[in-house]
């Protein structure tokens, strides 16, 4: 049952990460976690995520699922699950917990941008190459756009973003491109209290 889990420990860990959740929110998310965990072994596999129909029809579903799994691992536990979800907490909630000595919270604007950046960066080498951009674009458009058109879209995007001429987009260049975008709102999920 849901409350057998030591929500107090998880709560404390998450607070240290800068993720301020209430007990009821953790219990609710734990309930969700266990309902996805068909194998009932306390961890989620990629198949568990793919069983969600709305995620399965999302063109970038696989990339999003991948974001939950650390490098080279096939299972994610509840801590890891919460850690990834922490990126999507609204930023305004941080105002109550201003602690200058604490490390940057996971849901800061920079970390949200990093999350989006890593969706593009397939090989995790901290830059988005033309090839990677093409692959992600192909995922988003399917078969509806020709190779040439997609290629020119990719070229134009890199041209606009690239500043140091290495024909790829680094994280800082990515931040610059998106400086006018309301990242805080678009990459946040509001919990109903």
């Amino acid at each position: 049952s849901g409350s057998n889990f030591s929500t107090i420990t998880v709560c404390r860990e998450l607070h240290e990460m800068g993720f301020h959740v209430s007990h009821s929110q953790i219990t609710r998310l734990y309930s969700r976690f266990t309902s996805l965990d068909k194998g009932e072994n306390g961890t989620l596999s990629r198949e568990d995520f793919q069983r969600i129909p709305e995620l399965a029809i999302n063109p970038l579903g696989d990339r999003i699922i991948n974001a939950f799994f650390p490098e080279g691992e096939d299972q994610v536990n509840f801590r890891g699950f919460m850690r990834t979800l922490a990126h999507f907490r609204p930023i305004e909630d941080n105002e109550k917990n201003k602690d200058p000595t604490a490390s940057e919270p996971l849901n800061s604007r920079t970390n949200k941008l990093l999350f989006a950046f890593q969706l593009y960066d397939l090989d995790r080498d901290d830059k988005i190459s033309r090839d990677e951009l093409l692959q992600v674009l192909r995922m988003m458009v399917g078969v509806n756009i020709s190779d040439e058109q997609l290629g020119s879209i990719a070229d134009r995007t890199i041209q606009e973003a690239d500043q140091n001429g290495d024909n790829s987009i680094s994280f800082n260049e990515f931040i610059k491109v998106l400086e006018k975008v309301d990242v805080e709102q678009k990459m946040s999920i509001r919990f109903l209290h």
């Binding site: 609710r28 063109p59 998106l178």
Partner: protein, 505 residues
């Protein structure tokens, strides 16, 4: 040693005597009204007293929680997160409006990925489909461990109450109910077989109806089902099809308690098969062999023939094809709506406070499920008979199905979903992902490929009314729960079969 055993022997005799007397008199008090078709009102009194106990229990738990300065876990049926129901185009435009738009078309922005990202994570936290396949969470505790999320807040008094409840449920209610159910089914089998020998005619039909109703009444009491029927003037009539939302195999008993229906389904082996074969001797139910189920034309033909004969009872069909947890109504398979007769929609809504009737077939087998049902407090539900509906001019089967589904959802207070209940087991088809990709491509390059399709621009939230699941054969009519059960048995047998060679070693 003899003298030591004697008082114990006496005690045993006394205990047995009392339990037999109590058991027998309870049986009499329950069965006699069932046979006569009368209701004394014991069950409603029972229900009222239980409610009082539950309220008291919740108040105690809240008090306990307050003392520890914590909050009770309260489930929210409206969802965990706030979702924006805007379309893909709208959201991407919003993203663009805040960013720079200096480039000429085709318009791609790196920020676009955030739309898919947020939508994806939202569906991971809370999606509309998967939560329909597990039991609903309760607002207050009903003294059953299976529905408790606040175990930390239970005081001693509450635990004692729970223990008492456990004792009553398992040592008194459960054996009583099992006996009742066994007698109900036994009577059904024996009496229908006997009536089967009478030649066709009004006597046979009359007796068969009485027997069916009586047996179902006994079964209803064996589950302590407290049913309220609304709008009985709309009860299904001969020559029509009765359509209802599906939560549990018990739905059949609930409906058949109040009227005579012809069931549709696959013929099984084992006990269920025996019951099925007996039932069909005295009244025309429609059973199919497993091989026949796949033959769509054969199925449609038999149903049409049945419906054309006005002396035969209305057919009972559950178009969702699988059990849903009674918070929503999922896609209705169009097969029943193609036959072209009057459709009588029925909405069934269970009150989960007394025992959740939903059968989670991936978690529990049939026997386990029945035991859980019989050890709950009661099964309380409301049945609404909706006014009959027919297919209108210019409406195809799918639209008709959706219209009926919407009516049932509104009456029962359920969420009307377009998703297929078969997604409980099967993977969603790739075509839906391809639709999303198409929509996004349109945003990038504009509406270049106008192939002159007659279909109006669909909102991305609407799904095509074809098969939503990969590689699923057409099984429009089979009530899936029974099939699930036999599939499970098959799987278990196969597992056992592969295990034994190892054991021999």
């Amino acid at each position: 040693m003899g003298w030591f055993l004697l008082p114990f022997d006496n005690l045993l005799c006394i205990v047995l005597g009392i339990s037999f007397t109590v058991g027998f008199s309870s049986l009499l008090v329950i069965v006699v009204p069932a046979v006569l078709g009368v209701s004394i009102g014991i069950r409603r009194l029972y229900m009222k007293s239980l409610l009082k106990v539950f309220e008291w229990a919740t108040v105690r738990m809240e008090r306990g929680a307050k003392e520890k300065n914590q909050h009770l876990y309260k489930p929210y049926s409206n969802g965990i997160i706030a979702k924006e129901l805007s379309s893909l185009e709208q959201e991407i435009q919003e993203l663009r409006a805040s960013g720079t738009t200096l480039s000429s078309e085709p318009e791609f922005e790196m920020a676009d990925i955030m739309y898919f990202c947020r939508r994806g994570v939202e569906s991971i936290v809370d999606d509309e489909v998967t939560k329909r396949f597990s039991a609903q969470e309760l607002e207050s505790w009903n003294l059953l461990t299976r529905s408790n999320f606040n175990a930390r807040h239970i005081s001693l008094r509450l635990s004692v109450l729970w223990g008492l409840g456990l004792f009553i449920r398992y040592s008194f209610l459960l054996p009583l109910r099992v006996t009742l159910a066994a007698s109900g089914i036994g009577l059904l089998v024996v009496l229908t077989t006997i009536v089967g020998f009478i030649p066709s005619g009004w006597l046979r039909t009359y007796l068969s109806e009485k027997i069916h109703l009586m047996s179902y009444r006994i079964c209803v009491r064996s589950l302590t089902a407290i049913i309220t029927y609304h709008n009985s003037e709309n009860k299904p009539k001969n020559g029509g099809i009765c359509v209802a939302n599906h939560t549990t195999p018990i739905d059949v008993i609930i409906l058949a308690n109040d009227g005579c229906y012809s069931m549709v389904g696959q013929i099984h082996g084992g006990l269920i098969g025996v019951v099925q074969r007996a039932m069909v001797k005295s009244s025309p139910h429609i059973w199919f062999e497993r091989s026949e189920v796949k033959d769509r034309h054969l199925v449609a033909e038999r149903l049409s023939n049945h419906v054309a004969d006005k002396t035969k009872h209305p057919i009972l069909i559950f178009p969702e094809g699988t059990c849903i947890n009674n918070t929503s109504v999922m896609m209705f398979k169009k097969g029943s709506f193609e036959i072209g007769c009057t459709v009588y929609p029925v909405a069934i809504k269970y009150d989960p406070r007394f025992g959740d009737a939903f059968w989670n077939s991936s978690k529990f087998g049939m026997v386990n499920y029945l035991l859980r049902m019989m050890s709950s407090w009661a099964i309380v539900c409301s049945v609404w008979y909706l006014p009959p509906m027919s297919r209108e001019e210019g409406e195809d089967a799918v639209q008709f199905a959706n219209r009926v589904k919407a009516a049932i959802a509104t009456q029962g207070g359920l969420v009307d979903l377009l998703w297929d209940g078969g997604l409980k087991r099967g993977k969603v088809k790739n075509t839906f992902k391809e639709e999303q990709q198409k929509l996004y491509s349109k945003v990038l390059v504009g509406d270049q490929e106008d192939q002159g399709e007659d279909r109006p621009q669909e909102d991305e939230e609407e799904l095509e009314e074809e098969d939503q699941i990969e590689d699923r054969p057409l099984e429009d009519y089979t009530p899936r729960p029974l099939e699930d059960c036999s599939l499970r048995l098959q799987e278990e047998e196969e597992e056992r079969g592969s295990e034994t060679p190892m054991k021999d070693q």
